[in-house]
Symmetry: C2
Subunit: 227 residues, 2 copies
């Protein structure tokens, strides 16, 4: 714990790994750097923590400033503190990972130098951002199994096929359709809507929404969402 305040200090930043899902691939939002070092390289959105804001607030502010995204799912990931991670001086960065729904996601592409990349083909990144990205992806894959994170990547109304496709894209494995549906419907956390999703020359699909309030209630009672 702090006792004296006389050391010179590292700079403190936040960086965000923003994931999106377009129905096919899991994607990450990157920013092209306009300044040295790593000018013109792709990088994670982020920036300095101000003295009057929490770390979460800093992450949300930077995300809004650099990508236009607001109201996204945001969770702290890990803090990266290698001594030479920034070539100029000591910078410690608190990394976040964010999940955005497709509706919000399109807004991000408006941002001048922001672009979505499929996670399987990320360009070379500035600083240690490749390491941060890898950690975020590993975390997302891990958490998806026992936390209903997936819904943060889908529109508010979605079909079971979309949900399954998301799980398959993130986890990188094929899932059995019948077993998948049995399982997720068994939790009783998906509310069927009076609405169908029409999409091409075939049978339309039932739309559902996720019931987050019910999930929170169940979680307090020790319930675990497991895939």
């Amino acid at each position: 714990m702090p006792c004296v305040y006389e050391y010179s200090r590292p700079a403190l930043t936040v960086d965000c790994v923003v994931f999106g899902f377009d129905g096919g691939d899991l994607q990450v939002l990157l920013i092209r750097r306009g300044l040295e070092p790593f000018k013109d390289r792709w990088a994670l959105p982020g920036g300095f923590v101000h003295l009057d804001e929490t770390l979460d607030e800093a992450a949300r502010r930077e995300l809004a400033e650099e990508t236009g995204l607001r109201e996204v799912f945001l969770e702290q990931l890990h803090t990266f503190g290698a001594v030479e991670r920034d070539p100029r001086e000591r910078v410690v960065s608190v990394a976040y990972f964010a999940l955005v729904k497709p509706t919000a996601a399109t807004a991000a592409t408006d941002a001048a130098e922001a672009e979505w990349f499929p996670v399987a083909s990320i360009p070379p990144l500035a600083f240690d951002h490749a390491e941060i990205f890898a950690a975020a992806l590993a975390r997302l894959r891990g958490k998806l199994r026992y936390d209903p994170l997936g819904f943060e990547l889908l529109p508010p109304k979605f079909t079971l096929s979309q949900l399954q496709g998301l799980y398959e894209a993130v986890l990188g494995t094929a899932l059995d359709k019948r077993n998948f549906r049995k399982k997720v419907l068994g939790f009783d956390l998906l509310v069927p809507l009076n609405e169908k999703h029409r999409d091409g020359a075939h049978r339309p699909a039932q739309l559902f929404r996720f019931d987050p309030a019910k999930y929170r209630r169940l979680k307090k009672q020790g319930f675990l969402f497991e895939l």
Copy 2:
């Protein structure tokens, strides 16, 4: 990512939640503060991050300085950045959790103002350390289920009863002896030693050691240690 370096900076510290197990209760190591603020309150060991060390190094250094502990299991937990968490000025703290084996643990009690407390009866803590402690305990409980962390809290040679007692103490639930033994032996990660643990007027117990190298090998192949 950093672009300019002109903001005034938060101070950066590390704090460690050090867990130990005495065969009965899960315990935490606390330090009595000698200085204001929170003078004479109990607090987590920790201190400032120097410019020439990583965060992990800072945590190990502070742990050694304040408690005498070295070579402990150490993992980054979460970074705490509430604006008013230190009453004097803005301080952001990277929290770690540490697991120490009983052999090492006794060394810690030599440290002047360090003391072990059962996690069920922690005194009031300085700063936001109660929150950090709660996060660490939740993380330990969560991770114990799917990561072989428990061995970091036991001596290198241990009996299955000791191992089970540890799991029960941390998770707070009773476990079935036969099922527990079947499960952990089934992983084939415990090596029986040519040695028995004698302890009182009853049958002595087989001693085992954990095989970390084998575990790492299996983990790479997607194996999960699950209780």
